[in-house]
Symmetry: C2
Subunit: 178 residues, 2 copies
Amino acid sequence: MITAEEQREAQAYAVARLDELGIVLTEEERARVEVADFGLGRLRETGLQLLTYMNTERHCAKELVLRPHQTCAEHRHPPFEGTPGKEETFRCRSGVVYLYVEGEPTPHPACTPPPGVYTAFHEIRLEPGGQYTIPPNTLHWFQAGPDGAVVSEFSTASRDELDVFSDPAVTRAPVVGG
Amino acid sequence: MITAEEQREAQAYAVARLDELGIVLTEEERARVEVADFGLGRLRETGLQLLTYMNTERHCAKELVLRPHQTCAEHRHPPFEGTPGKEETFRCRSGVVYLYVEGEPTPHPACTPPPGVYTAFHEIRLEPGGQYTIPPNTLHWFQAGPDGAVVSEFSTASRDELDVFSDPAVTRAPVVGG
């Protein structure tokens, strides 16, 4: 759904943001930054750039990079293999990210979701140094502020292929790194 | 075992190293950086500065800061509550860290351990961008190179109070943050 050129450009954008933060990456890591458009073909609006440092059967760490106002589509991490599902902590490193989770809707949320299906409107605003832990199987989506955002994600085991998206039009894009 | 002055000085050292890397911390986090001398009273030789971002029942993330040639004493993370014990990934952010784990001893290891009990001599050298996952219940210790080191630790749940040290003289120092 995205062209090779879009992918290369998005990878380069993400690597540049991580470089700016002084986060040292190996050449191998630079080449395998993932670009996800969730199968929608509107990458700059609904999409995500991410680098998975490691992902074992028990723990995982990633860097997430968002363009200005880019949105990661609403989804949840369901139980699997006898676990309650992925539990994840977002820690904002640069920019601002607005995270929306299930719960009491925030009056006048800062973000408008892009076209699609969005049901969670309890807003958490994360500036650099701010963090939030999302329980497993909890619907959430997030959108960067006007300068984009870099977010570190610490979690239990990650199985992106099991993610359940609210919008039936969404397909988790296959890994398009490298 | 360490004075209030030593503690303040070590905290300030760690915060300065994290600031240099552009890692944004909250005021609350700056104040609760932990300083561990493992009960030995030789902090600059055998000790560690650390900040725990979060630690749930399932996942944990920390920043570890080491002074030049400072050593974290040999220990393992035993099974608890039906889990195999803490599994942790070290990712070097700055400086160089030499990690020693159980296994084939490395001929001519780069580091000499300080006085104490050290049995693991399989060496892994981590430069910035390098990482290594230590299985649960595996003996390990680590020492910074001449410029000190900052290491991100991603893991399953952390229970420092359960750590088993090789040296019976070691007691995991109580948290002396803040």
